[in-house]
Amino acid sequence: MNVQLLFFGITADLINTSSVTIELENSLLVKDFKELLLAKFPQLKNMQSYAIAINEVYATNQDIVKENDVVAIIPPVSGG
């Protein structure tokens, strides 16, 4: 199954892209998805913290990443 990843702010600079599609074997808890992200994108280890949004809504570790979801990596925000 495919999942689209979006990167913003400093994470887009670290990974050097703002969007990429990755393939997963099956649906995953966000908690486990984060582990997979770190394995795929070790540059994210430089981040002390970041949030995950699924389809434009903040996700918790217990939410599930499913086929065709758009998953955004949200570094600490600094609007205003």
């Binding site: 702010g9 949004a53 434009e56 809504v57 925000v77 609007g79």
Partner: protein, 140 residues
């Protein structure tokens, strides 16, 4: 009629538009917060700020803040407008206006809205100095 006006734009923000939106005959006061680009960070001279957004989600989060403000405080209307793109010193990245029957609610709702925006809305600013650039709050 809508009680909320939410906008993210690369155009110059329009204070009059935010003010006009919240005016209402039932209101005795309007509170206005205008964010401005400061020329220094911890003693270092800032030349400009670049705002990037996750626009569709940022709009949703701003709508949630406006709805929460209407829920928590006895205000009548609220506008939250944010800029994106490159801003210069003195430019305005954010305007929030609130109106209420009595002033206290307008002040409190305005403060709640800007404080929450800074915590939850997916917008990021990059400070440009003479010798480089830094993402604000990023702690890489």
């Amino acid at each position: 009629m809508s009680k909320t006006s939410i906008k993210i734009t690369s155009e110059k923000l329009d204070l009059q538009e935010c003010y006009n939106f919240v005016t209402d005959d039932s209101c005795g006061g309007i509170a206005v917060f205008v964010g401005t680009v400061r020329n220094n960070t911890q003693g270092k001279e800032v030349q400009q700020l670049d705002f990037s957004t996750y626009k569709p989600m940022a709009i949703k989060e701003m709508e949630k803040i406006a709805d929460a403000a209407l829920d928590k405080f006895p205000i009548v209307k609220i506008a939250i407008h944010h800029a994106e793109g490159m801003l210069q010193i003195g430019d305005v990245p954010v305007i929030i206006t609130t109106s209420s029957k009595h002033r206290k609610a307008a002040f409190e709702a305005c403060q709640f809205a800007i404080d929450t925006l800074k915590e939850t809305v997916p917008i990021w600013k990059k400070e440009h100095f003479s010798d480089g650039e830094v993402w604000v709050n990023a702690h890489p």
